[in-house]
């Protein structure tokens, strides 16, 4: 099969464009693609079904006006941007997705998925709310149901062994991601946080897990040998910052870049593309592999859960392990879950004696100057 490329796709930056060529060749070779939005999506099930997952999280302001035709203005920019890409056919990944997988996370996303369902084939996994005794049982059933749905949709059985193999491969990928992130524990760290984030994000567009591992390992090897040779890309005086909060792919320049331009360095990303999703592995030897997959994902801390004790516990551990000087929470405007939870995080940080600042921003650039001043002042305060 040959696909004609809609014109707008040409504007994509190189990393995503190459990913796009990969996705195009997957499709041309009869492969299938699933668009995902969240770290809770059980990738192993998609892998085992021979479906390549790709993140559709909207990170650009460009498609927001198109989204606002259907969606309210005061909605999180990630939701609006993602939806805008789908309605305007501007995102090749959305365009090529055979199916879109969502979860019952925040209200805005849940309702956006309903609208998206009018344009695309959307499957929604129901996430349990928090830490009830039956949460794992319920979530295992959901993951199993998802498996059966894929079996039916694509007319092919998904054997347990395929899920185990997928879990083995993803465990390996997670280990590679962790290794790269842990290089930031060095004092001074091995890299700017910006570069690490870009690598972790870019890895999501390779599709071939082995290739991802190879690339991440190459990068980590390089950083390690440079460090051993005495190279120090980051000054020893740079204040060590941990970033937590909402997904930040769309605000990276005016937050992470600004922190690092003002003499800080992000040594740890707790949020979605960072540590929280890669911390735990799947127990590949568990008797029930579906439950083992479910269990791994249920360990993720996120403000959409109540209570969100996992995020609090993880943050406490990370500020210590990464020898953090200050915590910056980056929230997206109108994200109720995270902006409300920031009070809990602030209190927790106060109790640990850890300086903390929360910022709320969207995908426009109009507040860049002001954000830079606030971030700079926070660093001066440390």
């Amino acid at each position: 099969m040959n696909y004609e490329l809609p014109e707008q796709f040409a504007q994509f930056g190189d990393a995503r464009k190459n990913g796009f060529l990969r996705v195009k060749s997957i499709k041309e070779n009869g492969g299938k693609v699933a668009g995902t939005f969240c770290t809770f999506t059980p990738q192993e099930i998609l892998d085992a079904a021979g479906v390549s997952p790709v993140s559709l999280c909207g990170m650009s302001e460009e498609t927001i006006p198109a989204a606002e035709v259907h969606l309210p203005k005061n909605l999180c920019p990630l939701i609006k941007s993602s939806y805008g890409f789908a309605v305007s056919d501007k995102c090749p990944y959305t365009y090529f997705s055979d199916i879109i997988v969502g979860e019952t996370t925040c209200d805005g996303k849940k309702k956006m998925y309903e609208l998206l369902g009018d344009m695309k084939d959307v499957y929604l996994l129901h996430l349990p709310q928090g830490d009830r005794e039956h949460a794992l049982e319920q979530w295992t059933q959901e993951v199993q149901r998802f498996r059966e749905f894929l079996e039916q949709k694509f007319g092919e059985a998904i054997p347990d062994e395929a899920i185990r193999d997928a879990a083995r491969a993803r465990n390996k990928e997670r280990a590679c991601r962790r290794r790269l992130m842990e290089l930031q524990k060095l004092q001074p760290p091995a890299s700017t946080g910006y570069a690490i984030y870009k690598a972790l994000e870019g890895a999501g567009f390779y599709f071939d897990v082995n290739e991802v591992c190879k690339e991440l390992t190459r990068l980590a090897d390089g950083l390690e040998s440079d460090y051993a040779a005495g190279k120090r890309p980051v000054s020893a005086d740079a204040k060590r910052i941990l970033v937590t909060g909402c997904p930040i792919g769309g605000v990276l320049e005016k937050t992470v870049k600004a922190i690092e331009a003002a003499g800080g360095v992000v040594v740890c990303f707790e949020n979605c593309s960072g540590i929280k999703a890669t911390l735990d592995d799947v127990d590949v030897d568990a008797p029930d592999i579906v439950q083992a997959v479910a269990e791994k994902y249920l360990k993720i801390g996120c403000a959409v859960m109540t209570p969100d004790s996992r995020r609090l516990a993880l943050l406490e551990k990370l500020v210590d392990e990464y020898k953090v000087d200050g915590v910056v929470e980056i929230d997206l405007q109108a994200c109720t879950a995270y902006t409300v939870e920031s009070t809990t995080i602030r209190r927790k940080m106060e109790s640990l004696g850890m300086p903390y600042m929360a910022i709320e921003t969207d995908y426009s650039l109009s507040d860049s100057g002001q954000l830079a001043t606030r971030l700079e002042a926070f660093l001066e305060m440390l």
Partner: protein, 256 residues
Amino acid sequence: MTGIGIDIGSSCAKAAVTEDGAILFWEQMPTGWSSKDTAEALRQKLCAAGFDPVQHPCIATGYGRVVVPYAQKAVTEITCHAKGAQALFGREDLDIVDIGGQDTKVICLRGGSVKDFLMNDKCSAGTGRFLEVMANTLGMDPASMIALAAKGNDAGISSMCTVFAESEVISLIGKGEPKENIACAVVASIARKIASQASRLREAGVPAVLTGGLCEASYLQKALGEAMGAPIASCPQARYAGAIGAALLAEKLPKA
């Protein structure tokens, strides 16, 4: 040691010189459209007064802090205001409210260092810009509007948003509400907004002070104190707090 501080704010630029903590010189001028030219004009004034930035360490602050070519270092207005207020009011524990042209800051100074701070987000509610827009609508300047407000009764403006508040003011004018009552409502509105912002950081028993260009607007100070539930002090030199703080920090710069 002598130190020079330059504070390029969005509407007003200030310079100050300190020597071993004593304030020797202060000067201000409108920022105008070119921060660069303003920085140069301040340099000439400094030189004329015998404080050449070539001979003394200099720190720039404010939103134009990066366009001061003769400063050795740029430091944010948060840190500088805190330092300046600490010196002006002689206390190590203060809650500092700075009403600037584009943004309003609340800074918690504890034991002589910044412990926490808040800055308004994109919105201009609670900033000098809000007062300017309202004063314009009333056909006067902000200082006279605040002075007039002292003679009025709060006519009630419910919206904190500059755009909506402006249309409320217009409709009050339309209804024939006396000007002083509208002015009073504008001041009450900004005082409430700032008090609610400050309440997130306020600690009982810590004195509050007002810095920035409105430090001599005594009625605003009174309204703010009432809204915050505790008197808020100020002094005429508080408009130079940022520049003074920058100068004090410059004194400590290592010799180039």
